[in-house]
């Protein structure tokens, strides 16, 4: 069993409630930080931990905190990004639903470190029942004196509220999230200025993922150095992985970074292997935006090393033969999956979720979806494959926010690793008209038709 930091107490009956959470050592990090540490000392511990932001980008959290503008004298804010919408990712919801006080404790301790007196948790609108769970938990924490004026007699004030979104993937991008929190459409802002200088209401703001903030109490209690001992090299600590697709035990797992991908998929402690013991065909290891990996690059890297669940190992080989850890949205596919159909599905998602601000993304995601749709439905042309390649290359890097890149990468990777499947679709259109075409006849069986 790997070490658990976030989910250690999740199975204690009643841990959702304040009393049980408190009896099991909850809110101790707030006491420790407010009574015995300075804000800079808390930030220093987080820096030492080496923890990288758990939302997907993997930017070192302590460094992000150190950028916050403390000189201007403007009010500062901490905003927790609970807009979890990356396809394949459902870890934050699990944490908030089952142990909401851990996030609230993390928010208080982190707000103290940043000198923020007004903080928000921005939760996606579809998680409405979780929004209510958090609201109730905040009220409990407030009644117990952990929020409000002069917390624990320390002189530190904090108001914490939950803000609810309304169904827009783009609001997971930090500047779009801030716009949405200001009551506007979720259009990302041009950076710089970065939120740490000018964020919510033009005030210095830090936006962190739920999982990142929930790890802060442990770091404060056990020190950043202890946290850094877990994991491998620059991938320190534990990570929540949301596993889905063709596996026996889909769900949320906390792993020590460094577990091998092979163990994660096959061990009974985690995914439990493939359903019906069918062959593994592909893996999206970090949410829909990251490149898909074909079977031969899943357990081993191109260099022949074991592929590990770390930031470095999953990206080993760059985009040519690697992928990314991303948000930890781990999607496993067996041989009945049509990669073209799956890529079309992702492209439809990005087209639907593009905010429409930048032309390459607004138009390009629509073109990707249309071209993929016609290939998948047996109306594609040989030159469509090059057309897709050309469109994705013109979106990537040419937009204000990373949604453009996120829409391009899955298409590029699918063509890079599964080109023969695209060729099969355009050359044998009558064979792909039924949407479950690879269920009866997996691609491996018909592959000889397109390979020499």
């Amino acid at each position: 069993m790997g070490k658990k930091i976030l989910l250690e107490k999740i199975n204690i009956p009643g841990i959702k409630t304040y009393e049980v959470y408190r009896q099991n050592g909850g809110y101790a990090s707030v006491e420790k930080a407010l009574k015995t540490m300075t804000p800079d000392e808390v930030t220093e511990e987080v820096k030492t931990s080496g923890m990288r932001g758990r939302g997907g980008a993997g930017f070192p959290m302590g460094m992000k905190w150190s950028f916050i503008d403390k000189k201007s004298g403007k009010p500062r804010h901490l905003v927790c990004n609970a807009d979890e919408s990356e396809p394949g990712t459902f870890k934050d919801r699990y944490l908030m639903e089952h142990i909401p006080h851990l996030l609230i404790e993390g928010m208080i301790t982190s707000s103290f470190a940043l000198g923020a007196n007004l903080s928000y948790i921005y939760i996606r609108g579809e998680y409405m029942w979780v929004y209510k769970i958090l609201e109730r938990a905040i009220n409990e924490a407030k009644a117990a004196g952990w929020l409000g004026k002069n917390i624990m007699g320390s002189g530190f004030d904090l108001d914490l509220y939950v803000h609810v979104g309304a169904g827009a993937y783009i609001c997971g991008e930090e500047t779009a999230l801030i716009e949405s929190l200001e009551g506007k459409r979720g259009n990302p802002r041009i950076k710089p200025p970065f939120p740490a200088i000018s964020g919510l209401w033009q005030n210095p703001t830090v936006v962190n993922n739920v999982e990142s903030i929930a790890a802060v109490p442990w770091i404060v209690m056990n020190s950043g150095a202890e946290y850094a001992k877990i994991g491998i090299e620059r991938s320190t600590g534990t990570k929540l992985i949301s596993a889905s697709g063709h596996i026996k035990n889909p769900g949320v797992y906390e792993i020590e970074l460094g577990v091998s991908v092979e163990e994660f998929i096959n061990s009974d402690e985690y995914c439990g292997g493939m359903i019906d013991d069918r062959p593994l065909k592909a893996l999206v290891p970090g949410g829909s935006s990251v490149p898909i990996l074909p079977a031969h690059l899943i357990y081993k890297t191109a260099a022949g090393n074991d592929r590990l669940m770390t930031y470095e190992s999953l990206s080993d080989g760059g985009f040519a033969t690697g992928s990314m850890l991303g948000s930890g949205g781990f999607i496993v596919y067996n041989d009945t999956t049509c990669i073209v159909r799956n890529t079309w599905n992702f492209s439809r998602f990005y087209h639907h979720e593009s905010c429409g601000q930048c032309t390459p993304c607004r138009e390009g995601t629509g073109w990707l979806e249309k071209v993929l749709h016609r290939i998948e439905n047996g109306h594609g042309r040989e030159e469509d494959i090059e057309l897709l390649w050309s469109i994705q290359s013109k979106i990537e890097g040419n937009t204000i926010c990373p949604l453009g890149d996120a829409a391009s990468w899955p298409v590029a990777a699918a063509i890079r690793h599964f080109r023969e499947e695209f060729e099969y679709h355009v050359r044998f259109p009558e064979k792909v008209k039924n949407r479950n075409h690879f269920v009866a006849e997996p691609f491996e069986k018909v592959k000889h038709l397109v390979t020499k």
């Binding site: 394949g88 009551g183 459409r185 889905s244």
Partner: protein
């Protein structure tokens, strides 16, 4: 415009206004507009789950902003409905992980069951099947959202049961 043909009775009850004022208090006094999204959710929930122009104008008045500032937000976010919806709208997640686990077949089954095409309201006004993008329940696929709640790991049998529960009034849409 098409939407103007739908009429909606506006009823800002005392309970609703109290909740709205509580939400407004979560933001600094000069930042009332920030409460827009949470307020729209509350107002929509209390008005048969949709927002007419008249209702949006009312929200603008409460938040001291211009009507267009509400319209542009309502039209951007998919959870705000600009025309009436069925009493029970089944929002199936159709994104990759759910598609992998058979949501497309299940949606066809659901449409047949309620006797309406995808997106359309059944003739009795009770049911509607729509496809939405990733709801963050990938490990519990296939699934749907109904009001404030998720119904996960669905099968044809559990969907049938859900329809029965709706018909017999066992399903509450909002957690108030």
């Amino acid at each position: 415009m098409e939407r103007t043909q739908y009429k909606q009775e506006i009823n800002m009850t005392e309970a609703l206004m109290n909740r709205i004022n509580e939400l407004i208090s979560h933001y600094p006094e000069d930042k009332r507009k920030s409460a827009l999204l949470p307020v729209l959710h509350e107002v929509q929930d209390a008005h048969d789950n949709w927002l007419s122009f008249e209702l949006q104008d009312k929200v603008a008045e409460i938040l001291h902003i211009k009507p267009v500032e509400v319209y542009e937000v309502v039209s951007f976010y998919t959870m705000f409905n600009q025309k009436p919806i069925a009493k029970y709208m089944f929002e199936f997640c159709r994104t990759a992980c759910c598609a992998t686990r058979g949501v497309e077949d299940l949606m066809e089954y659901a449409c047949e069951k309620i006797g309406a095409n995808l997106g359309d309201i059944s003739s009795d006004g009770m049911f509607q099947v729509v496809g939405v993008e990733c709801l963050g329940a990938c490990g519990y696929a296939p699934m749907l959202q109904l009001g404030d709640f998720y119904h996960e790991k669905l099968t044809e049998e559990t969907f049938d049961q859900l329809i029965e529960d709706c018909k017999s009034g066992k399903i509450t849409l909002h957690d108030k």
